[in-house]
Symmetry: C2
Subunit: 637 residues, 2 copies
C-alpha cells in the first residue's frame, strides 16, 4: 500500500503513514495530543485541522461551518491521508494540560470513604511496621531475616510471610547501618503477606496509596495517607485512549489489530501523570507511594495489565481474569515505589467490572436489608439490584455523552464547566465551577439542560429541536443547536451549545441505561415500587439534579426521598479496599455472589430501548411526575 | 600499583593483573580451569606451571623436585607476578572434564531416598496437573483464569493460589489453542501454591526435579522423575570455588574483597553443567525440569543466592537467612524451565546448614526413640545428637582432606579412584573404582590407608612417617611420603602416595571432628556408651570402612553393630523434601527445634583437639579396640 509523509505544523513533526490512515491516527503516531474525546466518531468536533497542502479523503461533516470548509478545515478523525500532506493544527485543537490541576479538581475528591455508613478495620493494603530490635548476640544469633520475619509475624498476626531475594539480600546491611531500627514495608494479599522492603530507620509515618478509578472516558486519582486514612488530593483527566474509540469495543478491536501495547501505554501514562501531579501537589515522594489500588471496568483492567481483551467482545464474553493477583506496579510501568504493589479491585464478569464491585461495597448494597438498586452512569451504564441475600447486575452501552465527553461542548466537571442549569421563570440560569465565564458544560449540566429544553418545549419528546420555539434554538450555518451561552460570554469566545447530534447522543445513553434497568426488574418480576433505595453513581463531579434526571427518563420516577446521588462509588470503594482488610474480604465475597445478567442475550432489549428513546419514556405511566406541572427550577422543589 | 601482562601458553590467553597477584588468580581471571583442589594453600601441589619468561615471587615448596625447580616449574598458588610473564601450563595441570560422566558416577547415586525407613506422601514440590475443561458458554462464562484456578484448587486441595502476570496473559490463548486441555505446572510453598505455567495439552508425564548437594569441596546432582519418584541419573564435580579457598572462611573473605558475584557464578556454573549433563544423559529437556532442590551448608547457600555471607564468620555468626523463600531458579542464573523453582532446604544456623537438616530428615534422627548421633564428614564436620524430643548440633572445621580434595593424590570416588586399602598379611591390597590401573585415591581409600600405615607402623601415633619402617616409606627428592602405587602401575604414570603434609591434614580433620563429638557429649553429661545408634554420613561415594575410621580415631569406638554408614544424607534428605510435602513439613519442624551449640565459644575445644591429634587418641581408653590385636584386614573381621 502507498505510504505518504504528513508534516504537522507548527510542531514540524513528520510521520509516514499508509494511504487511508486518518489524520487523527497520524497525529497520535506523531505524538501530538489532540482534544478528541469522542473516539474518532466525528461527534465531538474537537479535532479540527487545516490541510495546507496535499489531497485528503473524507465526507463533509456538520461540525464545520461553511467558512471553515472554505479555509481547508477538516475533522481529523473523518479525514484520510491520500497524498503527502502539510497540516496545521491550531492551539484550540491541541489538548491542554491533560490534568486538572486547579483547586476545582477537589470536586473529584468527594472525600466520603465510609459511605456505607459503617466503620471498617483500618488495615491498609500496604502497611509500614516499625521494628526496634536489639543487636544479635551469641545467646541470640538467629539469622537476620528470620529474626525480622518472626517479629513482623508477631506484629501483624500473619504467619504466611514471603519476601523476594532482593529484599533479603539487603537485610543484614540495613539492620547494621541503622542500629537495628528499621521499618518493614508489608503488603497484603489474601492470607499471605509480603515483606516488600526494609527501610532504614523509622519511615512509618510516610506511607501513601494512590487510588484510581479507571473509566473509559475519565480517569480519577486520589492520593490517600495510609496512616491517617485521609485523602490528600485528587486529580482527573480524560482517558488518553479516546482516539482509539469512545467505547471499549472499538478499543478492543484496535488492540486486536495492532497489539495491546499502545493502549496499555496510554493508560499507564495517564496514571503516571496523575500520580506524579498528586505527589507534587501533596509534597509526597513517589518512593513513599507504596501501592496503587485501581478500580475499572474489566476491559480497562485488561488494558492496564496487558491482558488480551479479545474474548470479552465475543460470545460468551469470557475475560482472561476478573481477579488479577496483586502485582508489582512496576511490572506494568507504573512509577511509584519500585517495589510498590498494584491491586486491581476484582470484578464480576467481562461487562461488570471492579468499578461496580467497588460501588456495591461503597454503597453498602451487599449489606442492605431491603431492596437496593445502584445505577452507575458511565460510558457503560451498569445496574445492580439486590441486598444482603442476593445481587444481580447487568451492563448497557451508553456512550460517554453523560460524562461530558462525546458532546461538542462537553467537558469534565472542572473549573469553567457549567454544572447546573435551571429555569427562573422564563430565564435560563446556570452555575459555573469556580465562577466566572464558562468554558463548556459537564455531565450534570447536560442533564439539567436537557430537562430545561424539554420544559421550555425547545425539544419535543423525541429530542428534536423545534425551530422558532425559543430564541436559543438556532439553525445558522446549517447546524441545528440550542445555544446556552453566546460566544461573547464564554471564557474562550466559543459559544456553548447542544447540537442536535449531542441531544441524540444523550437520549441514546439514557435510553440504554433505562432499558437495562427495566429489563432487570422484569426478570425479577419486580417493579420500580419494590425498590427501597435507589442510588445513582457516576463521575459527574459532586452534583447531579435528580429531578432533571427523572424528567428526561434517565432514572426511574421514584420519590426523591428514595433516591440518593452517591457520586463516584468506584473510587470510594477502591479507597475502602485500599484501607481495610475487612473491606477487601467483603469485596471478594460480593463478587462471588453477584449474578451477571447478560442483556445481549435477551429478546426484549431492542424493544425496551426503543421505548426509552422518548423523553422521558414512550410509556408515560412509568413517569407519573411528568404528568404533573413542573416547578421549572429544581431550586424551588 | 604496577600492572603486568601475563600470557598463558598453549592457550595464548593474556590477562593484565596487578603486581603481587598469584599465578593461580591470574589463570582464573584468564578463564583457564586449573586442577587446584586445596584452595591455593600450597597443599595439593596440582597447580604446577612453567615460567618461561619474566620474574616471579614466592617461596620454594616441598611439592617440587629439584629437577622441576631447575626447569622453572612453580606452584601457581604460591607464586606472584612481578613482571610481564610468559607462562606455560601442562596438560596435567589443566582440569579435566569437570563432570564425572562415566558409569561410575552412579556411585554418587545412592538411590535410597526412604532411608528413614518409612513412607512419605508423594507430593512433589512442583506437580503437573492435567485439566480437561469444557469450552465456556453463556451459561458458564467465568473468566478463563478463574475457571482454571478453581479447578486447580479443587484438584490440589490448596485454596491459596497465586500466579504471575506472564502466566495469566497467556491463559486464554493456551486454552483455546489446545481445545481446553492443558497442564498446569503448580509449585508449592508453605500453604500457598503458585500456578507457575500453563502448558498446552497433556504434559503431565514429563516432570523432573534436579536435586543437588552443594558441598564446599564436592557438588553432587541427581535427576529425579517427579511422577515415579525414581532417580534417573547422578553426576558430581568438585566445587569450582576451590581456587578461592579450601574452607568457607577463605571464600567469605574473598567475597568480601571482590564482591560475591564471581563466587556465585562459579557455583551456578557448576550446577548448570551438572544439570545439563544429567538432562542429556537421561534424555530430558531442560524445560521439563521444573525445580532445583538444593541442600548445602549455610555459606554455600549464601553464595548460591548472592546473599552477603560476611557476618557468618564474625561473632555472633549471624547469617542473612537460613530459610530462603522458594525462588525462580532463573533469578540466580540456573538454567532449567524458565519459570522453574529453586528450593533451598532450610538450615539451622550459620554453621549448621540445610545439608545437615536434610541429613536429620533422611536418617530419621528427629523421629528416633533412643539417642542417635549423626557425624557428617565433610570440609566442615557437623555432629548432631538427639531424638524425637530434642536435637543438638555443632560444627567443626575439618578441611577437605577426607573428601579426597586437599591431598596431593586425592580425587573423587569416581573411575580410577582407589576406594579400599587393606592388608593381606604383609601385602597391601587395594581396589579401584571401575577396575584397571588407579589414578588417585578417594576419601574412603585415604581412611583405609591411614589405618594400614598405622597397623604397619609406617607412621607413629602422631602420624609421623618413620624412616626405614616399610619399603613404601620414601624420602627421595626431599619429600617424605608413603608410596601406595609406583608410577609405572598408575593410569597416568604418576605415583599415588601420601605425603607427610597429607597425613597431617587427615589427622587435623579427624581431630577436629572427634573433638566436637566429645565436647557435645560432655555438655550433655553423656558418654559414647549412651549412643544407641551412630550414623556416619558424608560424600565418600558408596563406601567407608568403619573399622579403619575407628582405628584412626575419626569416629568413636562403638560396637560395629551400633554404627551405620549412611552415605550422602544431604542429597537423600533434599530428595525427600523435593518429593514430599510431609517431608518438607518435618524439615521445617526439625530446624526450629534443633539447638545449635557453638564450639568457638568453648574453653576446652583446643584441649580436646590437641588430645585427638593422636592416632587414635591421646586417651587410649576411649578406644579400647586399639588395645586388642587387630585382624589387619577389614575383610577378615
Amino acid at each position: 500500500m502507498a505510504q505518504f509523509t504528513v508534516v504537522f505544523m507548527p510542531f514540524d513533526k513528520t510521520v509516514v503513514v499508509e494511504a487511508g490512515t486518518t489524520l487523527l491516527e497520524a497525529s497520535v503516531k506523531a505524538g501530538i495530543t489532540i482534544e478528541s474525546v469522542c473516539g474518532g466518531d466525528g461527534i465531538c468536533g474537537r479535532c479540527k485541522m487545516i490541510v495546507r497542502r496535499g489531497r485528503v479523503g473524507g465526507v463533509v461533516t456538520p461540525h464545520l461551518t461553511r467558512e471553515e470548509i472554505r479555509q481547508g478545515v477538516v475533522l481529523a478523525c473523518q479525514t484520510t491521508v491520500e497524498s503527502d500532506l502539510l497540516v496545521e493544527i491550531h492551539g484550540e485543537t491541541r489538548a491542554k494540560g491533560k490534568i486538572t490541576i486547579d483547586e476545582d479538581a477537589q470536586r473529584f475528591r468527594a472525600d466520603r470513604p465510609w459511605i456505607a455508613g459503617r466503620e471498617f478495620t483500618k488495615t491498609p493494603i500496604v502497611s509500614k511496621v516499625l521494628l526496634r530490635m536489639s543487636a544479635p548476640s551469641l545467646a541470640d544469633n538467629l539469622a537476620d531475616y528470620q529474626r525480622l520475619r518472626t517479629l513482623i509475624q508477631k506484629r501483624t498476626g500473619i504467619s504466611s510471610m514471603q519476601a523476594g531475594l532482593k529484599v533479603i539480600r539487603r537485610v543484614s546491611e540495613t539492620l547494621r547501618h541503622n542500629d537495628y531500627t528499621v521499618t518493614a514495608v508489608v503488603g497484603y494479599r489474601r492470607g499471605v503477606a509480603e515483606i516488600m522492603d526494609i527501610e532504614g530507620g523509622d519511615t512509618s509515618a510516610r506511607n501513601f496509596l494512590a487510588v484510581i478509578d479507571i473509566g473509559t472516558a475519565t480517569i480519577v486519582a486520589h492520593l490517600v495517607d495510609a496512616v491517617t486514612a485521609k485523602t490528600l488530593g485528587a486529580q482527573a483527566c480524560f482517558n488518553s485512549q479516546a482516539p482509539y474509540g469512545r467505547e471499549v469495543t472499538a478499543r478492543i478491536i484496535a488492540a486486536e489489530k495492532q497489539g495491546i501495547d499502545t493502549l496499555q501505554a496510554l493508560l499507564v501514562d495517564d496514571i503516571n501523570r496523575l500520580t506524579a501531579a498528586l505527589a507534587a501537589e501533596c509534597n509526597v515522594s513517589l518512593k513513599d507511594i507504596t501501592a496503587v489500588v485501581c478500580a475499572g471496568n474489566t476491559v480497562m483492567m485488561h488494558f492496564l495489565l496487558g491482558l488480551p481483551p479479545g474474548q470479552i467482545r465475543r460470545s460468551p464474553y469470557v475475560p482472561v481474569t476478573v481477579d488479577p493477583p496483586p502485582l508489582r506496579a512496576a511490572e506494568v510501568g507504573i512509577r511509584i515505589n519500585p517495589r510498590g504493589l498494584l491491586f486491581a479491585v476484582p470484578g464480576i464478569s467481562g461487562w461488570v467490572g471492579g468499578d461496580i464491585a467497588a460501588g456495591i461495597l461503597a454503597t453498602g448494597l451487599s449489606e442492605m436489608d431491603g431492596v437496593g438498586m445502584m445505577i452507575d452512569v458511565g460510558t457503560n451504564g451498569e445496574i445492580v439490584i439486590g441486598n444482603r441475600d442476593w445481587l444481580m447486575a447487568c451492563s448497557a452501552a451508553a456512550g460517554p455523552a453523560l460524562e461530558g465527553a462525546g458532546t461538542e461542548c462537553g467537558m469534565m466537571a472542572q473549573r469553567g464547566a457549567i454544572e447546573k442549569v435551571s429555569l427562573a421563570g422564563d430565564r435560563i440560569e446556570y452555575e459555573v465551577v469556580g465562577g466566572g465565564p464558562p468554558e463548556g458544560i459537564c455531565g450534570s449540566g447536560i442533564i439539567d439542560l436537557m430537562a430545561v429544553m424539554l420544559a421550555r418545549k425547545a425539544i419535543d419528546r423525541t429530542g428534536r429541536l423545534i425551530e422558532g420555539s425559543a430564541p436559543e434554538v438556532r439553525f445558522e450555518e446549517g447546524r441545528r443547536r440550542f445555544v446556552l451561552v453566546d460566544k461573547q460570554n464564554t471564557r474562550q469566545g466559543r459559544e456553548i451549545c447542544m447540537y442536535q447530534e449531542d441531544i441524540d447522543n444523550v437520549i441514546t445513553a439514557k435510553a440504554a441505561i433505562f432499558a437495562a434497568t427495566k429489563i432487570l426488574l422484569d426478570r425479577l418480576s419486580m417493579s420500580f415500587a419494590d425498590i427501597d433505595k435507589l442510588m445513582i453513581a457516576g463521575g459527574f463531579g459532586s452534583y447531579i439534579n435528580l429531578e432533571s434526571a427523572i424528567a428526561i427518563g434517565l432514572i426511574p420516577d421514584l420519590p426523591v426521598s428514595t433516591i440518593t446521588y452517591v457520586g463516584n462509588t468506584s473510587i470510594y470503594g477502591a479507597k475502602l479496599a485500599a484501607l481495610s482488610d475487612e473491606a477487601r474480604e467483603i469485596l471478594y465475597g460480593l463478587v462471588k455472589r453477584t449474578t451477571y445478567y447478560d442483556l445481549m442475550g435477551t429478546d426484549d432489549y431492542v424493544d425496551q430501548f426503543q421505548q426509552a428513546m422518548f423523553l422521558p419514556h414512550t410509556n408515560i405511566e412509568l413517569f407519573p411526575s411528568a404528568l404533573r406541572p413542573r416547578a421549572g427550577s429544581h431550586g424551588a422543589s
